[in-house]
Amino acid sequence: MNAVAWAIVALGIGVVVVRRRSIAVGIVTAQAVLLAVAALGKGTSLDSIVAAAALTLRGVVLATLLLLLVRRTRETRPVRAGVAPLARAAAAVALALALIWLMPPIGLDSQAAERATLTLVAIGLVTAATRRATLFQVLGIVLVENGLALAALSLPGTSSLAIEIGVAVDLLLIALVAGVFHERIFAEFGAGDSAVLRSLRDS
C-alpha cells in the first residue's frame, strides 16, 4: 500500500511539471489505476472489488472525456504557465511539507498514507493555482480528489461505499461541466487559457 501511495504521489509531481495536456491526462489515469490496485490490496471483499471497479470506471470515463477535449481543442502552441516547472514543483513540495508539519496524525492506516494524501492535495492546489491552461486547472481538482480517494482507501475499519461512489460521480459531473466551459472558452478566445478570463473587476 505504501509503495502504491508514493507511486501515486510521484505521478502527481509529473502533472505539475509536464507541458502536454495529453500526457497529464495519461498520468492522472495511471493514478486512478493505482488507486484501484490499492483498493484491491485491502482485500477481496465485495466492498473492495466495487471500490476498485468504481475507481477504474471513473478513471476511464475521465480519461475519455479529457482526451476528447484535448482533441477537439487543439492549441496551436501550448499555453505557457505563469510559473516555471521547477518553481511549480518546489511550490508543491513546500506546501506539502507545510501541510504535513501542520497536521496532527489523523488516524489513517499508515503515516505514509497520511503524508501521501496531504502531498497529493498540495500538488492539486498548486497545479490549479499556477497553471494557466484551463484543462490543467481541472486536472488540479482531479489530483486533489485522487488524494482524497487514497485517504478514503486508507481509513481504518469500514468506509462508506455509497459516499465514495457519490464522490466519483460528482467528480465526473464537475469534469463534464468544466469540459463544456473549456470548449466554449476555446471557441471564444482561441485558447484554453485562463489568463484571458480577467475582465471582471469592481468599478
Binding site: I106, S199, D202
Partner: protein, 487 residues
Amino acid sequence: MTARDWLATAVLVAPLVGIAAAAVTPDHLLTRVETAIAVLAAVAAGVMAVVALAQPGERQLGRWLVLDPAGGLLLGVIGVIGLSSALVSSQYLAGRRGSLFRPRWADRVYWATLFAFWVVLLAVPLAGNLGAAWLAIEATTAASALLVGFSGRARALEAGWKYLILTSLGLGVALLGILVLEAAAGGGGIETLTWRSLPHASLDHQTAVVAYVLLLAGLAAKIGWAPVHNWLPDAHSEAPAPVSALLSAALLPAVLLVAWRSEQALAPTIGARTAGGVLVGFGLVSLAVAVPFLWRSQAWKRLLAYSSLEHMGVIALGIGFGGTLALAGVAVHIVGHALAKALGFYAATPLLAHDPRAAGHSVGGVGRTEPKLGASLGISLGALAGLPPSPLFVSEVLIVAGGFQVGRPWAAGAAAILLALGFLGLAHALVDTVIGRPRGRDRHPALGLRAVTTLTAVTVPLLLALTAAALWLPDSGIVHGLVRGLG
C-alpha cells in the same frame, strides 16, 4: 416508511419530474408545464417546512434523512425562492440573447439545469449525514456553474469558470476535513458521519479541531465567506437574474446550514466556545471585507453580491454566538435576506431592459424614470440595508444583543460598528438608485416589470409579517429547537 419519509421523497421527486419534463415536453407547452411542476415542488417543500416548524420538538434523525427546525426553515426558503425563480424565468428566457448551448436546446437545458440545481439544493437540509450533505453541495456546483455561464457571454464564462474551480477546490478541502473526522472516529462507515452520531463520537480533541477548521474553511469557499469569496461577486452579477436569486438567497444559507450543523455536532468535542469562535471569526472578517464595497459605486447586481457577503457574515456571527436571541436573529435573517435579495435580483431583469448601462455601472434616479421599478429596487435595498421596519433591522439587533447575552461583548461591539457602516453605505446607494440624478439618456421600457411589481406586492407584506414575528420568536418553540440543535 413514515409519513415524513414519503414527504421527503415527494420533495425530491417533484423537481426530478421537472428535469424529465424539460426533455419531453413540446416547445409550446414547455414554460407552462415547468411552471406547474415548480408549483408542485414548492408545495411539497412548503408542507415539509411547516411540518418541521410546527412540531419543533419532534425531530427526525435518520441515517440518510434529517428533519429539524433549522432544516425546515431552509426547506421553506429554498421552496419559495425556487418557485419564484421559476416564475420569472420565462421573462428572462424571452429576452435572452445567445446561450452557452445550441439555440434549439437552450431553453430545455435551462429548465433541466434549474430543476437539477433546485433538487440538490433541497437535498442539502434533508441530508442525514455529513457525507451526503457534502455530495449534495458538490452537485449544486455542477448544476449552478452551467447556469452562471448560461448566457455564453465572455464575462459569464469567466464568472462560471472561476466559480467552478474555486468552489470545487474548496469543497475538496472540506472533504479532507470529513475524512479526517471519519478517521478520527475509527472508521465505521456512514453511521460515523450521521448528525445523530457525531455529537457522541469519541474523537481526539486536536484532530477534531483540525477536521472542523478544514471543513469550515472548505465550506467557506462555497458560502462566500471572506477571504475566500472571490467568485461570489462575479457569479452573482453574471448569472441570469433568477439564478442569481437562487445562488444568494438559497444556496449560500443552505451550505451555511451544513456549517451550522457541523458546529453543533462537534461542539461537545472541541468546546462550544472554540466551535462558535471560528464562525464569529469568519463573520467579522466577511463584514469587514464587505463594508468598503457597499460604500463604492457598484453595478446593481454586484452591489447585491457584496451585500450577500455582508449578510452571510451576519448569519455566521449569529450562529457563532448561539443562544436564544442570536439564533432567533439568525432565523429571521435567513428568511428576510432571502425575500429581499431575491426581489432585488428579479428586479435586475427589467432594470437592465430599462437602462442597459446597469450591467456594468451604478444606476441613479430609477424612481424618477420608472417609478414602479424604482419602488421595487428601493424596497429590496431598504430591507437589505436594515432600514426599519425591515426584518433585517430586528434580526441584526437580536444577533448583536445575542453576542452580549453569551459573553462576547467585543465581537458584538465590532459587529455593531461594521453593521452601522454597512447600513450607511447601502442607504447612500438606496437614495442614489431611487431618487438620485438619472445617469445616461437611453432609457427604454422596463420589460418584465409586471411580474416584478406583483412579486413586490407579495414580498412587502411578507417582510412586515416577518418583522412582527421576529418580536415573538426568541421565546418560541422554534428557537428552542434551534438552540437544542441535533444533539
